[in-house]
Point group: C2
Chain length 346, copies 2
DNA sequence: GTGAAAGCGCTAACAA
DNA sequence: TTGTTAGCGCTTTCAC
């Protein structure tokens, strides 16, 4: 059995394809009666339309491309819900691609999205350790008038792109202040893959915050480039072996948070008594992990909603001014951080 | 700036579009020299192809549609990785749609996928409480020669569809045996949304397993239709209030697992001492939850790989025989289940 | 209110 | 080896 086309419906009803098209698209210029007949016939024959043909003709696809850096990261689940939340009601769908932190793969997928004629792109650009990225491609895409909104990550020097991010530096400064107030002075930070914008920002925030608060920085406690995040275990083990554990460690993503917890358990490091942990990202399981994780929460769902809204504005209203939104994070307090002041009083 | 077309390249090089097309698609019938020139020009002009045009002409899209019942379920993350693992290397991409356990939404997305001309579909069909589903639509899709492979869920009475599932009944029987061996006789099961194939199967497995092992079934301990899964708390609270807790509860999905843990904490029910819990799905956090969760593990990544492989076989080799793969689950042992025999010995 | 005709960008059969 | 031509299914302008 073949797919039904607009022609089949026209033939069956002895009318012209253009009339069928008009009726099916709800355009005026077709009598109400005929319109109904056409719709019924379409239903009867199981007509479903042909995206390729429509898109070819109208050069718009009502779809937008979304790139994520790693689909397994729960971060994206809420983000995607936020995106879907805006898009679905406005009649858009999205194409999801997973770059896997790989510049080459990102490029392939970006090309694929353009081939598909997406009306716009929501992207979280990849930067590899050596600084390699697809900035030039992104510029080209922008040049052929496909709007792009970056979310989560950006190219800091490039001002021509719209973006929705979180104040990464401030998020760590907040964490530092929180820990400081609880009496912590020996604080470490465990960072994921070097080169990634968010991670670099969080490191900057750490250094800035330490200076601000007069916390002495110990290079040993700054663990860089923990990617894959399983490296966390080795680093923590080394610190323990050298009897050089800080009293608190700030994780810089949810994977490192989990790795820190499980590594601590394996190494018999008691949380929060021996080591306090500030997690990153507020996942549902944070609450039932032992101990429940105090963490930095990003407004992920909102990021998805705002980025989509901006993108749609560019697509539908040809909005030209570039907007850069920076959202604040907040700290969700649970039990993975000990109050050292209190302890001293005992 | 406009998108570059094959015509632009042809004009720039003073040759015909068909030659350009041949060169770009690596078909023979073009001299190596010309082919190189064409490719260079294409690169220079930033040519990216046009999916709509190609798809319209060739009536194949090199994309497959994937429907998931709820994108927020971590189950799908590994599944998708498995799918991507097979598809990417064979030059296919996928369109992801989230039906949200909603038959209407599933229908809209299914139509959208067909409109997009997907070469095949990987689906986990939705069934609502009242039995409503899109079986007829699925049959129609099959009739217009778009291959479908069901994964995770199937229509049990329909033999014409290919599928990759897990032995759901057996998974619960295994769990029951495990609990029985640890001395448990008062066992409950917490089930998610009624009507869903996997859930119904797991219930059947529970009843069958109890009979097999001579475990007395207490209807109070069979909690049905916990959807949304937050209902878990109320059910557990009621059981506690009536002083009618079983010694062990089997969860039937990862959300209920988490809800059971957090509800137990809120209700001051000690796990595993007062209540043992058999989780469903082996998520990374199971290890660091308190206590670490003993659970039924589905080979999720494999499901994705196998389903994709079967589908590609149907698409590329016109494979006609229907295959139904049923994979076994296994139990991952951790600390959420107490050994009552041992306890007695103390 | 309806139909005829052109064309979106590409591929493939057929010619040369 | 290369070019010409037709047409995939649809929308849209221009007739009537």
């Amino acid at each position: 059995m073949q797919k039904t086309t607009i022609k089949d419906i026209a033939k069956a009803l002895n009318i012209s394809p253009s009339t069928v098209s008009r009726a099916l698209n709800g355009k005026n210029g077709v009598s109400e009666k005929l319109s109904v007949t056409i719709r019924e016939k379409a239903e009867e024959l199981g007509y479903v339309g042909n995206f390729a043909a429509r898109s070819l003709k109208t050069s718009q696809s009502k779809t937008i491309g979304v790139t994520v850096s790693d689909i397994r990261n729960p971060f994206f689940l809420d983000f995607l819900k936020g995106v879907d939340n805006i898009l679905f009601q406005r009649g858009y769908k999205f194409l999801l691609t997973d770059s896997g932190e790989n510049v080459e793969k990102e490029k392939i997928y970006l090309m694929w999205l353009i081939e598909h004629g997406v009306d716009g792109i929501l992207a979280s650009p990849v930067t590899e350790r050596d600084g390699k990225n697809n900035l030039e491609l992104y510029k080209k895409i922008k040049n052929i008038s496909i709007p792009i909104v970056f979310y989560d990550r950006v190219f800091p020097e490039e001002s021509q792109f719209d973006s929705v991010t979180v104040d990464n530096k401030d998020s760590i400064i907040q964490a530092l202040k929180y820990l400081y107030n609880k009496g912590h002075r020996k604080i470490g930070i465990f960072l994921s893959k070097s080169g990634i914008y968010t991670i670099e920002q969080r490191l900057e925030g750490f250094i800035e915050g330490c200076e601000l608060l007069g916390i002495k920085i110990n290079e040993e406690w700054i663990a860089k480039d923990l990617f894959p995040e399983e490296k966390t275990y080795d680093k923590l083990k080394k610190l323990k072996k050298n009897h050089n554990l800080p009293t608190a460690i700030i994780a810089t993503n949810n994977k490192i948070t989990k790795q820190l917890i499980s590594a601590s358990k394996k190494l018999n490091i008691l949380i929060p008594n021996t080591l306090s942990i500030m997690g990153y990202d507020d996942l549902t399981e944070n609450e039932i992990i032992s101990p429940p994780i105090t963490c930095i929460k990003q407004p992920v769902f909102e990021i998805g909603r705002i980025a989509s809204t901006i993108l749609l504005g560019k697509i539908e209203n040809d909005e030209t001014k570039t907007t850069k939104i920076v959202l604040k994070t907040e700290i969700v307090e649970r039990n993975s951080i000990i109050n050292l002041n209190k302890n001293t009083l005992n």
